[in-house]
Amino acid sequence: MGKRLYLEGTVVTRLAKPVVLLLLCLLLSLTVWSMDRHSLSVQPMVYVFSYGFFANALPFVVVFLLLLALGNRLSLALLLTLFLTVALYGANYLKLKYLLQPVLFSDIFVLREFHLSTLELLSNYAHPVWLVSAVVLLLLVVLATFRYDRGFFRRRSLARWGVLVVSLLACACVAAGPAWLGDVYSSRRLRVVPWSPVRTVLHAGLAGAILYSDVEYANALREPASTEAIEAFLKLKPPAAAPVAAPPAAAQPDIVIVQSESFFDPEILKDIDGSATLLPNLHRAMAQGLVGAMKAPTFGGGTLRTEFEVLTGVPMHAYPKISFPYLQINRRRIPSLVQVMHQAGYAAYAVHPNDGNFWDRNKAFKAMGFDHFFSLRDFPANARHDGWYLADSALTDKVEDLLSKATRPTFIMAISIEGHGPYEHVPVADKAAWSRIPVPAGWSPKAVREYRNYVYHISDADHELGRLWDFLQVRNRPFVLVFYGDHLPGLQYAYDAAHGFDNGRPANTQRVPWVMVGGNDDRPPQGRKIYSWMMGSEVLDAAGIQPPPYYAMLDRADRLLDAPGGGTLDAMVQDGIDSLARLYLNGRPLPKLPPAPEDVQANTAIAAHATAKETIR
């Protein structure tokens, strides 16, 4: 079998050494997986040998091989790797226990700013004596292994160099996040569950999930900004904007944006003749010219996409590799409407009666700068339920409570959830109201049930729109109230039963209604078609807040859409805004807006006047 050599005092053949290494790697992978499952408090070997199992094991194996190649001590490499593994999974266990959230890639930002207060914070979760003992024990083990363990590789071993180079290359790949690594750590293969970080860890393992985020982070934002596209956009001539009339500080309106789950007007369905009795407040707004149509970037789900566009003004179109912006944009600071509000002197709150970790909102809203995010745990235990989740009335209660306690102008982003599907079996609290919902004759029982279930919950949303509207009107404070649907619902039967939509287009291309009440009324929404990324500039305009440069660009695109023949974005506007959004999100300077025609005239007159004065002198 070849030359014999020595390993830890035992005789093995040359071939046995790689076999031992392979078996150790397998054992390490199984141990890591066991710890992973333990930190999740699930059965020890659940999902073992799945794709996620191997994806999770890979980084630990690489670290083990790297340490082995560097130190040339098998036991040392193994013990150090296990120590790091225990530290990682210990942190994961504690974070899940206390924060109900696994360790995330974004936690790296906490470590980047490691200082005394961080240590103090961490010491609340893990006893410092244990940490110090672990470090001392580790040092003793390191010394002992160098003293008693023999070298694993022979002197000047080529294999050692090979292992070193391969493991270093693997580390470099993780740091750089090349595109091909995205195929290995892809959401489909790992079965990533975007709205649930903990379920992603269940499928992909903690390290697999972290590496997935790392690769996403490295790749998703790599979209080039085109100077040509921006220049072409700036050459377009939109209708002139009315000057923004900034109100005095005392008259700054409170601003409430309600993003209503799956809200649309069923009247746009072919077989539905009227919705005034179902949605009286939407029709009340329509009658006053306060309702437009908005293109949301998603259909049937993916609420966070519309929410992201509204809050940041960045079109999802600008980042085609991003499907779940809150998860894929791991930044400490995300430029947003919230920061504009802060600069204008506003307090800014987000309210959503669901788990704050859902879609990673806790992290994203912090990065956007909200003063506080009121999630499910901030609602009273007896808050009203309807449907699968908390009722929209509970959300209105919270918004009203916040406004009642406000001591300065307040911006609230309220995200509802009552209207969430699936609709076929969604519970309804008021069966009598449900059975009164009219349905065209001839629909199948499934379509009838699904339609009534859906309409029942959006009727509640409409009722809450009216309630909030009335509340704001009697407060004797100026206000801007915005209400829109985040997307159309993914109804399985009702669309077909209704023979589609009045405009003959498919469900996923339909627009949702947007309502804007209060504020200056020089550009009422009625009949205006906008995109959800324009909403921020609409709000600033209505509230009389001077738009920062990026929002001025969005306003320009909005006005181009209003121009005769507008209504859909042409490629020149979309490409220009996409490139500007990429500059904006990456914190790079934006080009200056060309002066408006009236400014040009004024500047020319001033220049002529100055020249005349010079001549007189």
Partner: protein, 120 residues
């Protein structure tokens, strides 16, 4: 392969079998342990248990959704029995059998797969 390597492999197998929870006489079967999410993300699970005389009664079955605290679901003074959960078991949900002292005897976690196209 020499004797020592063989011994190492056997030791590893022993460790693995301990880790996978073998080696005790409590029986706690759940069915299904794996399901396709064709009818939504939740499913019902049938539970059957058998505990030996050494286990102090009553036994309790706790349920924990992934990332959430475990809560008691069912308690029984019988050494054998079976029950069916509601349609609230999801991917990663665990059922835990505990004795009268609250000691964890067995944990079972159910898993899921996306609905295959031919079943959807």
């Amino acid at each position: 392969m020499n004797r020592l390597s063989l011994l190492r492999l056997l030791a590893m197998a022993g460790v693995l079998s301990i880790m996978s929870g073998c080696g005790h006489s409590v029986s706690f079967e759940v069915s299904p342990t794996h399901f396709f999410e064709c009818h939504g993300p939740n499913t019902e699970v049938h539970v059957r248990w058998r505990v030996p005389r050494g286990v102090k009664l009553p036994i309790s079955i706790y349920v924990s959704r992934l990332g959430r605290e475990a809560t008691p679901w069912y308690s029984s003074g019988d050494r054998t029995g079976e029950q069916t959960t509601g349609k609230w078991m999801a991917d990663g949900s665990s059922l835990m059998l505990r004795d009268a002292h609250g000691k964890l005897l067995v944990r079972r976690t159910i898993t899921s797969d996306d609905c295959p196209k031919d079943k959807g």
